[in-house]
Amino acid sequence: MSAESPRQQATDAPGAPRPETARALAAGTRPRRFGAWYVAEHRFRVMRSYLQTMLATGIGSPIIYLYGLGAGLASLIDAPVASQPGAEGVPYLVFVAPALLASAAITVATEEFSYPIMLGYKWNPTFTGMHASPIRPGQIVDGIVISVTVRILATSAVYYLFMLLFGAVPSPLGYLAVLAATLGGLAFGHLLMAYVSTLEQDTGQIALVMRFLVLPMTLFSGTFFPLSQLPWFLQPIGWVSPLWHATELSRVFAYGYPEPLWLTVVHVVVLVAMAAVGWIASRRIAARRLGR
């Protein structure tokens, strides 16, 4: 109080602020509280413009993969697949379906957290436009997370319905696999979003991520065969792969995959940690990048 100059005290006389100041403070309240939802609304409207593509892939891919692997590959694999040596096996389709579910969730996350992020920062800088309104950079990130979470949940739910149709879910807790897959998608997606947010130019980095990260991750994350089938020195790839953790977690729910409880807890903790780190980093990068 003592630092205030006499002049300031005179102009900022006690009591009501200037009417335009009061108006600003009042008008800022709703955006401060609901800004992220407004961003999500915007994203949903954009998604509507490619709704047909979303429906086609959302319905087409479970049919193609489950039928292809269920009726095709599974017919060659007669023996039940056991996750660990000595464990009781399950039919191949039951084994592979939760992995396909998790993989589908990560595919949607990859789609939504890569080019659209670059688009918003650079190619069609809608994030700059949002930031010129009362929306804060962190709310832009939150809004995107909300909208993509809804899309991943919906895609995974559709996938799950087809899994039921193909008789690939013996456990009554199977529906929880949808949540496990979504969590996996967010774990990978948030990290990807943080990385893409740092790119000033896309000189092929995003394509590189797809080719040399997403594709190998699918091959080495216990998707089509148990991780234990890999030589020991390749197995760590699975341990750091969000797809592996999401797949294993989905298997626990979809058919009571026998693994120790502590390992199930590890899957959840790793996925939540990845999602949180990616989310927080994305918010910080957004604040730095948009506030330059």
């Binding site: 401060r32 800004g35 309104s133 804060r136 506030g291």
Partner: protein, 308 residues
């Protein structure tokens, strides 16, 4: 006098070792139309981004509507309309949708936004393009849509960064007309430009900015009076002769400025100076007498012309 809506004191923005804005002070009164005039890279856009409560200042004081942007960014931005230098309309949405989505960012009810969107489409003369894709619009139409979008929250202050850069003359005049109407309605306008005619048309008062500093401040007429003569005689003797002839013109007019393509003679009476030059036996290829403009002010203050 009402309290200023914008007060900047010794405002600075440092990017690593470059001072983009290097100690700028100014005030803008409500309803005023205030311009920042200067060449590219002068620090105009950076100043606008700080005033827009988007970019954080390195030092100095800044108050918009009585609030500090460091603490009240969202509150301040709720009262601003921003027309950025590069259009950032959402090209994945249609024309009207861009307004609907943007209105939500201010927390406005959907019905209010829908009503305003229709009014603003009429104001921007884009009613027939309501369902068009943004990419199908011309440059001038995109600009008008961006201005319509900036008005969706009925802002106290409209910030326009190079509003007509890249537009053809006709599109510029349509835009000026729209901005003039806003000014008449009492909206405070803050705009940057490197076009003299734009500044003269739209600004009540302006600052001339170069290298992040203020070179001069005043109304367009005041600036011209203070830093230039009433008239300017432009004479051309051919690119290779201008410099040589200029030596023989010493004493002609109040002051002479030699540009690569022409010589400017500053004087209260341009015609009289032309007579003196021809009487001295010099015959320019072309000659032109005009009134002094802000371009001359800028040239005088910085020794450079605005558009190189």
């Amino acid at each position: 006098m009402p309290a200023p809506v914008i007060t900047a004191r010794d405002l600075r923005k440092q990017y690593e070792d470059v001072a983009a804005v290097d100690g700028i002070s100014f005030e803008v009164s409500p309803g005023e139309s205030f311009g920042l005039l200067g060449p590219n890279g002068a620090g105009k856009s950076t100043t606008m981004r700080m005033v827009g409560a988007v970019s954080t200042r390195t030092s100095g004081d800044l108050e918009i509507l009585g609030l500090d942007p460091n603490a009240h960014g969202p509150d301040i931005r709720s009262q601003l309309g921003v027309v950025p230098q590069a259009d950032n309309l959402d090209t994945e949405l249609r024309v009207r949708e861009n307004l609907l989505v943007y209105g939500r960012y201010f927390g406005l009810p959907r019905r209010t936004i829908a009503e305003r969107a229709d009014e603003l489409l009429a104001f921007a003369q884009l009613e027939e393009k309501s369902k068009a894709k943004v990419d199908a619009l011309s440059g001038g139409m995109k600009r008008r849509l961006t201005i319509a979008r900036a008005l969706i929250n009925d802002p106290r202050i409209l910030l326009l960064d190079e509003p007509t850069t890249g537009l053809d003359p006709q599109a510029r005049h349509i835009l000026w007309d729209r901005l003039f109407r806003l000014k008449e309605q009492g909206t405070t306008l803050v705009l940057t430009t490197h076009y003299m005619d734009e500044a003269e048309q739209l600004c009540d008062r302006l600052i001339v900015v170069d290298h992040g500093r203020i070179m001069a401040e005043g109304t367009p007429a005041e600036l011209i009076r203070a830093h230039s003569s009433r008239e300017v005689l432009e004479v051309r003797f051919g690119a290779d002769r201008n410099a040589e002839v200029a030596k023989r013109l010493e004493g002609v007019g109040d002051r002479i400025e030699v540009l690569p393509d022409r010589i400017l003679v500053y004087s209260a009476n341009g015609e009289a100076e032309l007579v003196r030059i021809t009487e001295a036996g010099l015959h320019p290829i072309t000659s032109l007498v005009r009134r002094s403009s802000l371009e001359d002010v800028f040239l005088r203050l910085t020794g450079r012309s605005l558009i190189e």
